[in-house]
């Protein structure tokens, strides 16, 4: 009673799936779910708080002030002639977005085990949700930055964004993809090895200091010539550097390392999806 290939079945569940088994069309069908998850995250984040969504503004303002105090005033690190406050706010927003994408993607499987264990939906929905959710707070910070730029301009400390600001969406996309790629690899491995989830916490902090977030690339150059080349090999470095140039006009645009960084992004994304589609089906048995 061998059955011929019957196309009328809507779902056929087989033991092993191909290496590249991500159904993008299916994810699109679940766009309502992505929307609901976003709404859930937003609504539940600041329930029962007095300031509510104002925290979206307060936390970047606080950390920027902190950065300005410590790295700007106390450590006196150069900011390429841009007002320190703007410099740190800009870097912070970009790094924050990347970091959110990575860490929230990294906890996809372990954090949603209760949900994934009970009901099916494309598993990629939840990292995608976190990437979009991260974008929300990024946009708020950008708005804050725009206001700050105006205030500083009124006080005579004008900065001029370059035309490259048009490339910002590309940079955002890259940060999302890179965060997604690395995050997916980590989340797929954390279903078995919980070590990685601990690593992510302080790993991101170390990574931040290895990336020109609180200092400009020129500072590295003046510290030791040639070191900047090493720093720029870090795939996030050219993005942050170029982002700052695009928005604040400080430093310089770099295309060579950026191209390399894109290549690294695709490699991570490729392997990420590869591992993800292996783990996705049966992670419930090992998590």
């Amino acid at each position: 009673m061998k059955k011929k290939q019957d196309n009328s079945w809507s779902i056929v569940i087989r033991p092993k799936t191909g290496w590249f088994d991500i159904d993008l069309k299916e994810i699109w069908q679940y766009k309502d779910l992505i929307f609901m998850f976003l709404k859930r995250n937003f609504n539940s984040a600041y329930k029962q708080t007095i300031l509510g969504p104002l925290w979206f503004l307060i936390s970047p303002l606080m950390s920027t002030t902190m950065f300005t105090l410590i790295f700007g005033t106390i450590a006196n690190i150069s900011t390429d002639g841009v007002p320190q406050f703007l410099f740190y706010m800009c870097s912070n927003a970009a790094w924050g977005y990347f970091s959110t994408c990575l860490t929230s993607t990294a906890s996809t499987f372990t954090g949603n085990a209760h949900l994934f264990g009970k009901v099916y939906f494309p598993r990629l929905v939840s990292p995608i949700t976190s990437v979009i959710y991260g974008l929300l707070s990024f946009l708020i910070q950008m708005l804050l930055l725009a206001v700050s730029i105006v205030i500083f301009a009124l006080r005579g400390q004008a900065v001029t964004p370059s035309i490259h600001i048009l490339l910002v969406p590309v940079m955002l996309l890259q940060m999302a993809l890179l965060g997604l790629g690395i995050g997916i690899i980590i989340s797929s491995l954390t279903t078995k090895y919980r070590d990685l989830s601990i690593l992510v916490g302080f790993g991101m902090q170390l990574w931040m200091y290895a990336t020109p977030v609180v200092y400009p690339v020129s500072q590295v150059k003046s510290f030791a010539a040639g070191l900047e080349r090493l720093v720029m090999l870090n795939p996030v470095a050219p993005i942050i550097n170029n982002f700052r140039y695009a928005v604040l006009g400080c430093g310089s645009m770099d295309y060579g390392y950026w191209a390399l960084s894109w290549a690294v992004t695709f490699v991570f994304l490729f392997f990420g999806i590869l591992i993800f589609s292996r783990v996705e089906r049966t992670f419930m048995d090992t998590v």
Binding site: S8, I11, D32, N43, K118, F121, K192, M284
Partner: protein
């Protein structure tokens, strides 16, 4: 040839590894790997059990095949660990099978747990949308049904309150309502009705029956509650140790599951070595129960059951009483017949008495009896001396004008009413 199966399960196997999976840490796995490389004993395996985790396999499902037709309600029963939930997990795509293939036609909504993905901080209404989306509904579909859902859940008053303030019953009601109103073709239910009050359980079952009959949805229902299985299901599948042992008629399936078919009715029931309950005083001990004047244990209508009970007396008993507690195939007590203070006996005596019991009000069926010897103390308390289950299995045939179905009319047939005016 029209194929109206909505689910086809084809020789599905699911294997789990016993023991801990890996060391749990990267370091542990590297250690194990390094040890294996040098042909040393794995430092992470259990003491003395060489390569335990590597070779021990457990088949949660071992070659399961069956089909479900459109509009059919199939019950899935079996003891703990029989593989029911694993099967539902495979069908709802939570995990993948090790071997075999499952084919599904249409949309599946699974309720492996009530209120999956409910978020405590969100209001009831927001959770309906969220839950709907998780279960695969479009926003518009929820919009169209939200009124029905709220109405059915009986939570209208609280719908805009965060669900963390809900009582557990309300939580379940709301969650079930969402699932029951899903626009799916196949519903998978895993003992969702175990919670919620009786009235709501009844409402849910009625809803599910109407969903299956009127809307043509198929339901796979897992439960340990035979009552609801009987009410809801057209067909029943019994799983035992990962294999399908029976697939067909509901009553037969339940009998097989409860192993009723393994207990046969005997005229002579010997009690010399059988299971004793530990709350008994053992002042007297039953030895045997024998049906008299009959070739078999089948009794018709008003026929009386006559039997001889033999027992030993271990301590002096002043006033001994005896009762027969009659159980139906679901192991529920249906009726009891008693004989009070029929004798007194001295320690060391062996006694036998013949009793006659009428079972006329019982509907047709197979019954199991728990005979109990007991005393009644000064303040009217019952002290059980000895009991054996099942001490007797008999079949009763009751002729009624109605086509008597126990799940419809109950297990007791009262005397026919008379019209007096």
């Amino acid at each position: 040839m029209e194929n109206n199966n909505v689910i086809e399960i084809d020789n599905v196997k699911k294997q789990y590894r016993l023991g801990t999976i890996g060391g749990g840490t990267l370091r542990g796995d590297l250690q194990s790997w390094w040890a294996r490389l040098r042909h040393k004993e794995d430092p992470n395996s259990m003491v003395g059990s060489r390569q335990y985790a590597k070779n021990e396999k457990f088949m949660a499902l071992d070659g399961v095949s069956f089909n479900v037709k459109k509009g059919e309600t199939v019950g899935l029963i079996g003891g703990n660990g029989a593989g029911k939930s694993t099967l539902l997990k495979l069908l709802s795509r939570v995990t993948a099978p090790t071997e075999g293939e499952l084919r599904i036609r249409g949309r599946v909504s699974s309720m492996l747990e009530v209120g999956t993905g409910f978020h405590g901080e969100l209001t009831g209404r927001e959770n309906v949308y969220l839950n709907g989306a998780i279960l695969g509904m479009k926003r518009k579909e929820v919009d169209a049904r939200i009124e029905d859902i709220i109405e059915f859940s009986e939570c209208r008053q609280f719908i805009d309150t965060p669900v963390k303030r809900y009582s557990s019953g309300m939580f379940v009601k709301l969650a079930f309502s969402v699932a029951a109103h899903l626009n799916s073709d196949i519903m998978l239910m895993d003992e969702v009705l175990a919670v919620g009050d009786m009235a709501f359980q009844k409402k849910c079952i009625d809803k599910m029956i109407s969903v299956a009959r009127d809307e043509g949805k198929s339901i796979i229902y897992v439960s340990h509650n035979m009552q609801t299985i009987r009410q809801l299901c057209d067909r029943c599948i019994v799983l035992r140790k990962g294999k399908v042992v029976f697939n067909g008629d509901v009553d037969r399936a339940i009998d097989i599951y409860l192993r009723n078919d393994e207990i046969t009715s005997k005229l002579f029931n010997d009690f010399t070595d059988c299971h004793k309950f530990n709350f008994l005083t053992d002042k007297v001990m039953m030895e045997s129960l024998e049906i008299l004047d009959k070739e078999n244990c089948r009794f018709k209508d008003d026929e009386k059951i006559r039997f001889r009970l033999r027992f030993r007396c271990n301590e002096d008993v002043e006033k001994l009483s005896f009762r027969m507690m009659i159980h139906n195939s679901d192991q529920m007590v249906m009726a009891t017949s008693a004989c009070y203070n029929f004798m007194s006996c001295k320690a060391g005596e062996s006694c036998e008495r013949v009793f006659e019991m009428g079972v006329a009000p019982l509907a047709s069926g197979v019954y199991k009896v728990l005979p109990v010897l007991f005393e009644i103390n000064e303040i009217g308390g019952v002290i059980d001396a000895d009991g054996v289950y099942p001490g007797l299995v008999f079949e009763h045939e009751k002729t009624t004008q109605l086509d008597w179905k126990c799940n419809l009319y109950g297990d007791t047939v009262l005397d026919d009413m008379i019209c007096i005016g």
